[in-house]
Each structure stands twice: as C-alpha cells, then as structure tokens.
C-alpha cells in the first residue's frame, strides 16, 4: 500500500494520534489532517482533475475517516487506511458523475487549474524552453488522464503515482489480478494513443 510519510524525529507518531482521535481528541485529528492533506488532495485531484471538487472530496475523505476512526484497529498504517477511504470517496463520485453524464465527462474538468503557489511540476533549474515543454507535457498528460474511463484512470494512478503492487490495487479497487493487468494494459494503450502527437512533435 502507499507508504506513509516517515515522521520527523520528535513528531508524534500516527498511531499515538489515532489513539487520541479514538478517545475523541479532535486536535489530534487536526494534526493528522495537516500531515496528509496534501497527499490526499493530490490523489483526489489526479482522479477528477478539478480543483474545487478535489478539495471537497479530500475533505469528505477526512470526515469519513473521523467517523470511521472508532473501527480502525491499526492493522495497517493510518495513511494506507485513509488512502482507501479517500480512494473510495473519489471513485464513488466519479461513478456517479459517469452515470449522470451518461459516460461523458465535463470538458471543464480537463482544464488544469493549479492553485497559486502550487508546485505541480518537479523542482529543478530548467532552461525556459525546457520548462515550457515540461509544463506543456504536464498539461497534456493531465488532459490524457482525464480522458480515461474512471476504471482505467483509477488503476493507472494507483500504480504509477501511489506505487501500489498489483495485489494491493486488486484489494483497493476491488477486482481480480487479471482485471488489474488488463486495465493497466488498456489504460496505457489509451494514453499512448492520446499522447501520440505530443511525443511525435517532441521527437
């Protein structure tokens, strides 16, 4: 499952904070929110490509986590558990959106809106033209991701961004290992097709 961020020395471990949350300490939960909000937000954003909706879904994930906290037995890391909740919240939203939109996605969601100060591309000292190409490639990748079906988008993000193993993806979705591999295959084929021009022009 996604690795939890290693706490800094002196930082209160997640397990201690979880136990305090389970005793009703909302301040402890606030610390956990601080710790993982950027990661959860990145996940929801990549899944739905809309800043406002991603923000709301990330918040919904934390609220659900708070509600479910009494049942969390610490049999996985807090982040792994939280991630599953966030993933389910987002995927449910996507499925509902798909049903409401008859399978079509709102084009406005493919517009890549990045908050002021957001660092959505890697750090580095790049030449302006390289930075521009990188930014353009990032936009095209986001556009391509948004055009995948929710099922394909889900597995490709779980694999490429969160680095989950096949078994972990199968458990999270949930589906069989064969389905994971099939979806990954078709998701990559689709991305290849969508990004074909980008790569050909760059060559």
């Amino acid at each position: 499952m996604p690795a939890s961020t290693a706490p800094d020395p002196g930082e209160v471990p997640d397990t201690d904070l979880v136990k305090r949350c389970q005793a009703g300490d909302t301040r402890a939960f606030d610390v956990l929110v601080n710790r993982y909000r950027n990661r959860v937000y990145a996940m929801t954003y990549h899944m739905i490509q809309n800043e406002t909706e991603a923000w709301d879904l990330a918040q919904e994930a934390f609220i659900k986590a708070w509600r479910a906290m009494p049942g969390f037995k610490l049999d996985s890391s807090f982040y792994t558990w939280l991630y599953r909740i966030a993933h389910n919240v987002t995927y449910d939203w996507l499925r509902k959106k798909k049903i409401q939109g008859d399978g079509e996605f709102d084009d406005s969601r493919t517009e890549h809106k990045v908050a002021a100060g957001a660092e959505a591309v890697p750090h580095g000292f790049l030449a302006p033209d390289t930075a521009l190409k990188n930014a353009e490639l990032g936009k095209r990748i986001n556009d391509a991701i948004s055009k995948l079906s929710p099922e394909h988008r889900q597995v490709i993000l779980l694999r490429e961004i969160e680095g989950l193993q096949y078994e972990e993806i199968a458990a999270t979705v949930p589906c069989s290992l064969g389905t994971v591999m099939s979806r990954l295959f078709y998701a990559r084929k689709k991305l290849q097709e969508l990004l074909k021009d980008t790569y050909e022009n760059a060559a």
Binding site: T26, R67, A115, I161, Q165, M181, S182, Y186
Partner: protein, 209 residues
C-alpha cells in the same frame, strides 16, 4: 475486457513484476520482435512521464480553511446527532465513568430531567450501571411528580443515595464541541463532550453535596 497473456507479460515487465528468469525471456522476445520492443519502450516512457508530472503531494489551496471546515463539520455532526431519532447528548451520560466522576456517593442510578413546558419535569435520559436494570419514567398528574421505575433492580438498601441533576437548559459550543448543562439557577453543572465512539466524556462537573 480480457487481455491475452502476452499483454499481461508486457504490463508485468513494465511494472517490474517479473522474476529474473521471466525478464530474461521477455527481453529475448523483444529482441526478436521490434514492434513489441517499440511498444514496450513507448509505454515505459509514458510511465516515466506520468511519475514526473503527477506529484504524490500537491499544496492544498486554503489549507487552514480546509482544516477548520473539518472541525466545524465534526462539531455539526455531533449537534445533528442530538436531534430526535439520533443519540442525544444526554445519552452520553450513560457512562460509568461519568458516574464515577460525579458521584461522591454511591449511585444506583442517575436521571436527568428538565422542566417541561407545563411546569412538570420531563425525564430526558436515564442511566443504570447494571444493564439488567431497565429504567422507565412517567409524569403522574395525580401525584404531581415524576415517577422513576427501575425494573430488575435488586432490593436496595435504605441508605442508598441518588445523585440527580435538574437541567434547565443546555448550551452547545460548536468550536469546542462541548455541551454545558445548566441547573435551575443557571449554574453550570456539567460540561460534556463526545468521543469518536459516541461515548460520553466528562470534562467538568460541579461538585455535588
């Protein structure tokens, strides 16, 4: 949609899910099949670019507001849970720790009531430490009193003492997620909160004589 096993091989190779023997065999296949090699390399490039351009973390806009909204939502849900049909904050009082904290005397049971609209007392909640004991109450117009029935209670010693709270009104502090219970003279009697398991947590109590 099913994919043929050779496509699974390509995916497994890309994701590093093959053992060394499988990787060697797949490399030999790619050497013999330039189209397969080209596809594998194209997919590999996409994987690399995805990882480079889709960060694992993104700065959350309005982060402080995000946190405060969560705290507000948690507090609001607690308030909602007080409405009819939900557990009420008075249910929180059904907890032995509260009894232990508030009672300097032995407690057989605890009732919470407040003044009704017509001046009578309304029992809002009862607590019995022994789950075999069922507490019921009713207001007797004839007696002009609120009667508490304790079914299943063993004979009670005559010197057994009761602790009661007469609640005139309550106030919720949404920010602190607490409820303060006030007595007949508007004096604060108890300050309670609810933990994540919907269990009562006594924060403060006025000592009882």
């Amino acid at each position: 949609m099913k994919t043929p096993p050779e496509d699974h091989d390509l995916i497994r190779w890309l994701d590093g899910e093959m053992n060394p023997a499988e990787r060697t065999r797949f490399a030999a296949r790619m050497d013999a099949d330039p189209a397969l090699k080209a596809e594998a390399e194209a997919m590999q490039r996409i994987s690399t670019d995805l990882r480079a351009h889709l960060p694992v973390e993104m700065p959350l806009p309005y982060a402080d507001f995000f946190n405060s909204q969560i705290q507000v939502r948690i507090a609001q849900e607690e308030v909602l849970s007080h409405e009819p049909g939900h557990r009420t904050w008075l249910d929180w009082l059904r907890m032995p720790t509260l009894v232990a904290a508030t009672a300097a005397v032995a407690i057989a049971g605890m009732i919470i009531w407040q003044q009704g609209a017509q001046g009578g007392s309304v029992v809002l909640s009862t607590y019995a430490p022994d789950p075999a004991v069922q507490a019921r109450s009713f207001h007797s117009e004839e007696a002009g009193a609120t009667v508490l029935m304790l079914d299943g209670l063993e004979d009670m010693p005559a010197d057994k003492k009761f602790v009661t709270f007469r609640i005139k009104h309550t106030e919720n502090d949404h920010e602190a997620a607490t409820t303060t219970l006030y007595g007949l003279h508007d004096e604060p009697l108890l300050v309670v909160a609810k933990d994540a398991r919907n269990q009562p947590r006594l924060l403060a109590a006025t000592p009882r004589g």
